[in-house]
Subunit: 146 residues, 2 copies
Amino acid sequence: MTPLEHKRPMKKADLEDRIRAVDLRPTKQRIALAELLFSDGNRHITAEKLHSEALDAGVRISLATIYNNLHQFTTAGLLREVVVDSSKSYFDTNVDPHHHFFHEQNGTLEDIHSGDLTVSNIPELPDGTEISSIDVIVRISPDNNS
Amino acid sequence: MTPLEHKRPMKKADLEDRIRAVDLRPTKQRIALAELLFSDGNRHITAEKLHSEALDAGVRISLATIYNNLHQFTTAGLLREVVVDSSKSYFDTNVDPHHHFFHEQNGTLEDIHSGDLTVSNIPELPDGTEISSIDVIVRISPDNNS
DNA sequence: TAAGCTCTTTAGAAAGATTCTAAAGTATTG
DNA sequence: CAATACTTTAGAATCTTTCTAAAGAGCTTA
């Protein structure tokens, strides 16, 4: 995270408001997940990883609840799902349009801010269709010499 | 497929050569898969779909063999894997650099030839990394009015 | 605050895709 | 043809994600 970047260490009440704002009940589990997800900058996380973070933080929560809420948050626009690996799903707390670096070595994602990469020359779309999103993944790996 | 597009209805001997060329033995199963994959223009196919096509074509082949060979062909550069859906893998017979339309409605892929779409302004890469590939997925869905 | 209703959570089962195992089969080489 | 190495296969196993149905918790009203 760069020094000037937006950051918001959220209070619990703010998190509750944020959950209420999307018409979900602020349960203990949701608040705990929201805290893990939204308290400290942008994150890219898998269900399994979020689950273990929650357990490590002392929150008793089942994996099913993790999945339920990741999907509900995504539907509500609080998260966005990123497809980079055919074996698991990543959820991104940055819901503004942007792209990603994917470190193939360790399965880690890094944001590319929207202005930093341009897609142009998009060909005519198939008839009767419209764009629902454009995803650019720049897959990177450790280079030979360094 | 457009009228002027490259097409090569391959003979069985050509397929065998192609398999030998990547140091694999031309078994009955490999030849049958190569025929389904490479005989008629570019394809985007899942393991399950290829399996059922093979069975329909009267080729006795197990799903494990499908997976084995899809991976071996991919490693050999005869196929390329496209990640668009977190629940299954697609294999593309077009191994030249290019991008994709993904029809969200029916899970279908369509090539965007390399010259038809440009990615520019790629930001500086993280230290010690190099690009291994750039994937652009233009996700499309049926539009409201048509 | 109690009742009642709805939404949530949960454990465990189930599903779906992919990989693994180890044994039987086949291509290749000499 | 024999010896060797590579392949195929059925079925089990694994992994991620979803489902089920029962118990629990938040919310509204009186």
